[in-house]
Subunit: 233 residues, 2 copies
């Protein structure tokens, strides 16, 4: 009998915002897996670290963060092969995922490689977008309001079209795209309604009006919420 | 000193999908509050019931579910007044909210009435949209995919415009709007990509291809996921 792979969302950053199910699976796991970008610390692991058993075995998938896709694809292939080898031996594996595994998660690339061959259980988590709204004290939407999630990597034309027709937008993965986003929001007269949240619910969380930010880039884990129902700053 | 109001997301349905923070606040609460629609059972309370202390005091806000807004506004006014009276006496109150409080939550109406006068802490939760994606085994989005959340109460023109330009859409609060949505998806050739999830992660959960559903209405807590990246049914 082969093992089961669990893709477990650990939530946005505050360890207490992990679900009870995630906590149970992580704290009883014999083997955990996670991505580490460019050989650095894994964000998902750092969120879950207090719950991981001291004698748990760890599968680290080292992920080169580059614009080109090939090095990442190779890393996913390699990571999936290592997880697969353990599943074949009947071991269960808990893979840690920031936020929610099926909401822009790297876990999706592992899932695509393994879900047709093995039993894979996914545990949803609190997303950074929901956490960012809570931390700014502004609801994402109510009644018949529309919400859009727009990756900052999109081209300007698509971003403009979507921003022009929406009351509530979350622009995610802002990082080095900040300057492009700030200019676009200014052009559309949306700057007074835009708030940037870096690392929502992490110890390093920072919240600022986008109009007050001068640096050209921001951390990758930055979300900009644009909500025209909110009182302008 | 006045008390603190906690708006706590209990997640989509499975009690284990509540956050550790929600579980801690609910299990230690001396007073809880929640909405009950038309005098029926509260969904949020039924999710949290195993964690509520036997001697906890309960504030029930009875909510008439009608198309007209005035009865609901009166119920929110009344509920906010009752919560306010307890906060004035220095009591802390934990208000239970389905999913995430700031994601279309009724809690927003209480928050708007009380947040300028009292300390209000909001605890985000796993949304029914994230849970629905997990349960169908199809990621919401990856890389630079756009996600839109569209309430089924929107007019047909707006729904059509948003559906035509998006790879991943969650249509929420489907209920009595099902027939309108089904026809629109058929017109746009999106039926093969549409899945309906009733009561995600509840014991009564049901998942079906929209093309295979014949009844004219569905439960209020139904989400339709439309994802053109998915293999058609």
């Amino acid at each position: 009998v082969t093992g089961t792979l669990y893709g477990v969302g650990v939530g946005p950053g505050d360890p207490e915002l992990m679900t009870v199910k995630a906590w149970r699976l992580i704290s009883t796991a014999k083997t955990i897996a996670y991505l580490a970008a460019n050989g650095g610390e894994s964000t998902a692991r750092s969120i879950a670290k207090h719950f991981i058993a001291d004698d748990a075995s760890e599968i680290i998938i080292d992920m080169p963060m580059r614009v080109e896709r090939q090095p990442a694809q190779t890393a996913y292939d390699d990571g999936a092969a290592r997880i697969s080898a353990r599943l074949e031996r009947g071991e269960d594996i808990v893979m840690l995922c920031e936020g929610d595994p099926f909401f822009y998660g790297s876990f999706i690339h592992i899932y695509e490689r393994l879900s047709s061959k093995y039993k894979v259980n996914v545990v949803p988590g609190v997303t950074s977008v929901n956490a960012a709204a809570t931390e700014t004290g502004s609801p994402l939407a109510t009644r018949d309001g529309v919400i859009k999630i727009l990756p900052a990597t999109l081209g300007e034309d698509r971003l403009r079209d979507e921003l022009m027709t929406c009351e509530s937008v979350a622009i995610i993965k802002v990082g080095r795209h900040f300057e492009k986003i700030r200019k676009l929001l200014a052009t559309l007269d949306l700057l007074p309604f835009a708030t940037a949240i870096e690392l929502a619910t992490h110890a390093e969380q920072r919240i600022r009006a986008v109009s007050k930010i001068n640096e050209p880039t921001m951390p990758y884990f930055t979300t900009i919420l644009v909500n025209t129902n909110r009182r302008p700053t």
